[in-house]
């Protein structure tokens, strides 16, 4: 099988880096509190200890595969021996940081069904050849099926560079920046005339104000460019492939990441359209996955594709997640009734209304800013009202709601963990009700709300979801 072996010696580097990361602050304290001599001694001792630790923990770490299990042994003094049953393994993820790529290595993360941030087993440095071999050996008897050769993929899609660039340009960063510019510029409009006409050195003042404006614009442009760059680095060469029962995602320009998602663990698929992308018909697709894959960060949904046009979504889901395939044209949304509109307005604008009143009382000349925001928030309330809705057909439940971004969620009915109908006295008077649907995600639970629908419609949905009614 896969005989006992150590990690690649480069793992020593990662061990040392880990120690540095953990002890960085205590070293900093020594530097601040003590004098230079003490610091030098501490630094020397620290480097030696870190190196010794790095080497020893590499030397004492080994792994091998038997017929049914992956075994890992580690610990310098306290030895730990861990076994993970092959058929319990949900996914094997590979991550290559820049250091890994220099040595042609990869980090291997092995996940079982249990959730949480930490992988069940992480091999910090394995040569690409070993990693491939390991993966084949682990999958051979696993329920996940055998590794498929390149040409056997059922579907494959890579992001084009222009699309990627578009994703960067329209990523959230820009919205914030445009807001800044709009508020900032109009505020300068207010300020400039007064200053220009009051001061003798008017040209100088004007020049310096222009200078300040330029600097601010420069900073904003830099932030924007950085957010584009970040998107390019993170999602560069984004490729998704599908076999019979798994999805493979590779992404990243500097740090390469390879994720495995078993199709049967996808709890829901979401389509998110931010306010910049929606007018052009673009959205990104994410998945909620039970356990395992956290894609690095906790509380993060797993991105299935960074940017797709509305027209492409149905085809994409057909190919990559057929259990969730769905045609926008077929959907007949059950939407909130007109009586719900006031609630949407109040929810979206109440904060801005209060702010407007407060600013109006204390800084009357600036009151137009919160008042303008208040008007915008009313618009947002109207959009949220227009967009909210649900649709149930067969086993598939669609929810749509908007906070600022418009989110559409596709859930398989059997995945629902709990269904909740809520209404307060006022809603009851108008026969309205809100609902909350809970599903499982890698962080525990994910809850989706659709607000102020007709009570009768929510009742019907609850009855249709209830299992007991299906038996009759």
């Amino acid at each position: 099988m896969f005989e006992e072996r150590r990690l690649h010696p480069a793992a020593i580097i990662f061990n040392i880096l880990k120690v540095i990361k953990e002890l960085f602050f205590s070293l900093l304290i020594v530097l601040v509190a003590g004098n230079f001599l003490i610091f030098s001694i501490a630094l020397g001792a620290f480097s030696i200890l870190a190196s010794v630790y790095g080497i020893l923990s590499w030397y004492r770490f080994s792994y091998y595969v038997t017929d049914d299990e992956l075994w890992i042994e580690y610990g310098i003094f306290k030895r730990t021996k861990r076994s993970i049953a092959k058929n319990r393994i949900q996914s094997i993820d590979l991550t290559e940081s820049v250091i890994h790529r220099i040595f042609k290595l990869t980090r291997v993360q092995i996940e079982t069904a249990s959730g949480g941030e930490k992988a069940e087993a992480a091999l910090s440095a394995v040569s690409l050849k070993d990693a491939k071999e390991l993966r084949e050996v682990l999958k051979n008897s696993g329920k996940a099926g055998t590794l498929v050769p390149e040409e056997m993929y059922l579907a494959q899609k890579e992001i084009s560079f222009s699309r990627l660039l578009l994703a960067g340009i329209t990523s959230g960063g820009l919205g914030i920046i445009i807001g800044f510019i709009v508020v900032g510029l109009s505020e300068f409009d207010e300020l400039i005339p007064e200053m220009v006409y009051n001061y003798t050195y008017e040209w100088l003042v004007t020049a310096s104000i222009i200078f300040i404006v330029l600097i601010i614009l420069g900073v904003l442009a830099t932030i924007w460019l950085l957010s584009i760059l970040w998107t390019l680095l993170r999602y560069g060469k984004f490729t998704i492939r599908r076999t019979e029962d798994e999805l493979f995602i590779t992404r990243g320009l500097l740090e390469r990441k390879q994720l495995t998602i078993p199709l049967h663990r996808i709890q829901a698929i979401g389509i998110e359209e931010n306010i910049l992308r929606q007018p052009f018909g673009y959205a990104f697709i994410f998945a909620e996955i039970a356990g395992g894959n956290t894609d690095g960060k906790l509380a993060d949904s797993t991105i299935l594709f960074p940017l797709l046009h509305k027209r492409e979504i149905a085809a994409f889901l057909d190919e990559f997640a057929p259990d969730f395939s769905w045609q926008e044209e077929e959907v007949e949304w059950t939407k909130p009734p007109p009586a719900a509109l006031p609630y949407y307005y109040v929810r979206s604008s109440v904060l801005f209304l209060l702010a407007s009143i407060a600013v109006f009382i204390f800084f009357r000349s600036f009151a137009w800013i919160p008042i303008a925001l208040f008007a915008l928030s009313l618009g947002l309330g109207w959009l949220s009202y227009k967009d909210a809705g649900f649709y149930l057909k067969g086993n598939r439940l669609l929810l749509r709601y908007r906070h600022v971004k418009r989110t559409t969620v596709l859930i398989q009915q059997k995945r629902i963990q709990a269904f909740e109908k809520k209404n307060h006295a006022l809603e009851r008077k108008w026969s309205l009700a809100s609902m909350k649907i809970s599903i499982l995600s890698n962080t525990g639970g994910k809850h989706y709300h659709v607000k102020n629908l007709e009570e009768e419609k929510v009742n019907q949905l609850g009855d249709r979801i209830a299992y007991r009614n299906k038996l009759e």
């Binding site: 049967h264 663990r265 709990a418 109908k421 009855d463």
Partner: protein, 159 residues
């Protein structure tokens, strides 16, 4: 979901809630009395103290006398073979459906006050949510726990 669930919880729940609310408000009253003493000693303005007393009296009435009754009246539950159906909420009425196959474990819990009144709570956990039926008689609670765990014991394909 038009009909509320059938069963009410144990009426002794009202007493349990009253007592635990009284304990919390007792602390508030102690703080209030201390500040009254300070106010007398150091001649503080009595406007704020009067305000605080009015608010505390109001809170005491709401949390000790009014809310427990309302909460009890609203609380209902029903167990079906395929799911659990719960209703609660004084202001926001919430009705929850929990599919039986999603139930991961059921616990009964009993604090000191509940023990005194021979009631226990039943908490039902799915992988994503937890739901607590706050007060049932001891026998009812353990019966319910056993019944749910029996019903929930089905072959799960995943999660």
């Amino acid at each position: 979901m038009r009909q509320p669930p059938k069963h009410a919880i144990d009426p002794r729940a009202v007493d349990v809630w009253k007592i635990s609310a009284a304990i919390y408000l007792g602390i508030l009253w102690l703080i209030l009395l201390t500040s009254v003493v300070f106010a007398i000693l150091w001649d503080w303005s009595f406007v704020y103290i009067t305000g605080a007393i009015i608010i505390t009296v109001l809170l005491s009435y709401l949390f000790i006398f009014l809310f427990p009754k309302l909460r009890y009246r609203r609380w209902r539950y029903e167990i079906f073979e395929q799911e659990i159906y719960i209703q609660h909420g004084i202001f926001i009425r919430t009705r929850t459906l929990i599919p039986m196959i999603r139930v991961q474990h059921v616990d009964t819990e009993q604090g000191p006050i509940m023990k005194r009144f021979h009631v226990a709570s039943v908490s039902i956990s799915t992988a994503a949510t937890t739901h607590i039926i706050p007060a049932l008689s001891e026998e009812n609670a353990s019966d319910l726990r056993d019944r749910i765990s029996q019903l929930a014991r089905v072959d799960e394909d995943d999660v």
